[in-house]
């Protein structure tokens, strides 16, 4: 198989050293419910021509949680092989309609949600926030989903309140902000990703941005690990707020007598090893009892919101992982599932409704819990 750049998959992803041990497929949260099988796809990439992938609609099932990468004894990246296969599908125009819409909107509007770029800052209309042109210590990169989604807008609003309470000097890009491209790259649209990266690096440079803080682990991941030429330091908000907590600048005073369980976002935990900061923030709220899933931290289970899955109807059947996680949380006696990622927020909100636990358990972003503890 050849990548869209004409390299062989074997060489590009170093697949010759694969043992075919199958740990990747064994650890894949989708392989039990879909034809997705990282081990098999690695083998296919070595043995067959590109035509083999053309009818594999299930390649869009992968959430790019990267557990396969984490578990591989040969340090291979089966997830990247799947992304490479998606790139072939993209170039061959074998794209599910919903993915196509998201990609076309990102090209045209700068966001995958089909929303007007001039409405991006509407969530902040009454907050009188500094704009990037005024300069600030941090650029708060809001992200597409917190900017547009009515539920997740509350995360952006909560973060603003907490940042202000902790004395963080920050500005936003407003309508100039555009998609970070983390999901776009994972949907296999390499050209569009590069375009977004170049545009964003230029915007950050123009405003002399030195520090970026993101709402989403997905934006954090791509800025931190995949952007070429980005000079700014990148933080997920849980890191920044944990530092403010340690310095005594973020004071959590109000009691919240709740049992809270934390869902590690894959792009924060597994992929960037940020496990402690979110937990410290939650457990520092007076009255909160922090519970843990049996499968937590590196063993945590993906919510199925990543890798473009917000825009792809999966072929996978059976119970969604977020529903399994909600049931586990209820069984453990949790009253709140705390998340730190816009996609986890949306998949879990759906899962609470689907499992019929509405009213019994709530989904809240850590920023929303912090607001309750400071006001």
């Amino acid at each position: 198989m050849e990548t869209i750049d004409g390299e062989s998959f074997g060489e590009k992803y170093d697949l010759f050293v694969c043992l075919q041990c199958g740990k990747c497929t064994g650890s894949c949260p989708l392989s039990m419910r879909s034809q997705l099988s990282p081990r098999k796809h690695v083998r296919e990439a070595l043995l067959f021509d590109n035509e083999v992938v053309l009818d594999k609609e299930f390649l869009w099932d992968c959430t790019t949680c990267a557990t396969c990468r984490l578990r591989c004894p040969r340090d291979l990246q089966p997830v990247e092989v799947i992304i490479g296969m998606r790139s072939i599908l993209i170039e061959e125009a074998k794209v599910p309609a919903t993915v196509q819409e998201a990609l076309e909107s990102t090209f045209k509007n700068g966001n995958p949600w089909g929303r007007a770029p001039s409405k991006r800052d509407e969530w902040a209309a009454e907050l009188s926030l500094k704009s990037a042109s005024e300069g600030a210590e941090y650029l708060y990169y809001v992200g597409c989903t917190p900017a547009y989604d009515p539920r997740v807008q509350n995360v952006a609003k909560s973060l603003v309140r907490v940042f202000k309470a902790a004395g963080v000097d920050f500005a936003i890009l407003g309508n100039e902000e555009k998609c970070c491209g983390n999901e776009i790259r994972r949907m296999g649209e390499v050209g569009l990703f590069e375009m977004l990266m170049e545009d964003n690096v230029e915007i950050f440079e123009n405003y002399g941005v030195e520090r970026i803080v993101t709402s989403s682990p997905h934006c954090y991941n791509v800025f931190k690990n995949e952007y070429e030429g980005l000079k700014a330091e990148v933080f997920h908000y849980t890191q920044l707020l944990c530092e403010k907590l340690d310095n005594g600048l973020l004071k959590l005073t109000k009691e919240l007598k709740k049992k809270v369980i934390y869902q590690d976002p894959c792009f924060l935990g597994k992929q960037n090893k940020i496990f402690e900061e979110p937990r410290k923030l939650i457990s520092s709220i007076p009255g909160v009892e922090l519970l843990e899933y049996d499968r937590e931290k590196e063993r945590s289970v993906c919510c199925e919101g990543g890798g473009g899955r917000m825009w792809a109807e999966a072929t996978a059947t059976g119970e969604r992982t977020a529903e399994t996680r909600v049931k586990e949380a209820v069984a453990l006696g949790a009253e709140i599932i705390a998340v730190a990622c816009p996609f986890c927020m949306l998949t879990f909100e759906d899962a609470v409704k689907m499992t019929g636990y509405e009213g019994k358990i709530e989904v809240k972003d850590i920023s929303e819990l912090l607001v309750e503890a400071i006001e």
Binding site: E91, V95, E104, K108, R115, A116, L192
Partner: protein, 264 residues
């Protein structure tokens, strides 16, 4: 089969707030996202599907500034063979008739079997360019086309009528077919595909290149003059529901129920 497809680069105003310029003749373009006119996207796809099935050539044509090359490049990436853009300062203020004259001047010397246009444009919504162009070229036309089956110098064409009715016509080729949305599923074209298509020919022509004088286009050459654009006043009957999505949905359901619009 020789195919011409006429496309337009238009602003997306579905959600964005539209602001009228002080001269009341246009809208402010800053902050608006531009792209290929929705109907034209289907017209281009239909043109390329025809070429893929019967062989031949697809030429994409637009009238507009440099920025409208984005739309032409998309057409080239999707499979059009070459593109033509007509730009001239004298075109400002042209109505559908004047634009059809321009397209006619470009197309009349070309070989063609089918000219596809979108049934209308998302910005001015005239829906007249296709028919006027056919009239000027002296060839038949069909509008709101939902299916095309070429056969021996003719084509069987389905048209969408009101009330879910469909009309089937036999039309002599060459003809102008103004395409309705939904006729096909426009394909995705990647950024890499657009970059690769940069090698394809994109010719830029002025009015003199196509043999038209400035008086034949613009306001002088038009049958219609735009007097004023305005945003319709909000009627008193309109009720805007506010609140969280679940609150507004509950209110809306209540109103529908009250008026007997929910079947029991």
């Amino acid at each position: 089969m020789k195919i011409v497809v006429c496309v337009k680069h238009v602003p997306d105003t579905a959600e964005a707030d539209v602001v009228i310029t002080p001269d009341k003749k246009g809208i402010k373009k800053e902050g608006l996202a531009f792209g290929i006119n929705e109907w034209d996207e289907y017209a281009v796809e239909e043109a390329i599907l025809m070429k893929e099935k019967y062989g031949g050539e697809v030429v994409a044509i637009t009238i507009g500034g440099k920025e409208s090359e984005d739309t032409l490049r998309r057409c080239l990436a999707k499979g059009a063979d070459r593109a033509i853009r007509i730009e001239d300062p004298a075109l400002e203020g042209s109505d559908a008739y004047a634009l059809a004259k321009v397209l006619c001047a470009v197309i009349k010397g070309m070989e063609y079997d089918i000219i596809f246009t979108g049934a209308q444009a998302g910005d001015d919504g005239f829906g007249q360019v296709g028919q006027t162009l056919a009239e000027l070229l002296g060839i038949p036309h069909a509008a709101l086309v939902t299916k095309v089956e070429p056969q021996d110098g003719k084509a069987k064409v389905h048209r969408e009528l009101e009330g879910g009715l469909e009309e089937v016509l036999e039309i002599q080729l060459p003809a102008v077919l103004a395409v309705q949305t939904g006729i096909n599923e426009p394909r995705y074209v990647s950024i890499m595909g657009i970059r690769k298509a940069k090698k394809k020919e994109l010719k830029v022509l002025s009015l003199s290149d196509i043999g038209l004088s400035p008086d034949e286009v613009g306001e002088k050459g038009s049958l219609l003059t735009l007097e004023e654009l305005y945003i319709p006043p909000v009627e008193k009957m309109a009720e805007i529901l506010t609140g969280a999505p679940d609150e507004t949905a509950t209110k809306l359901a209540g109103i529908l129920d009250e008026r007997g619009l929910i079947p029991k």
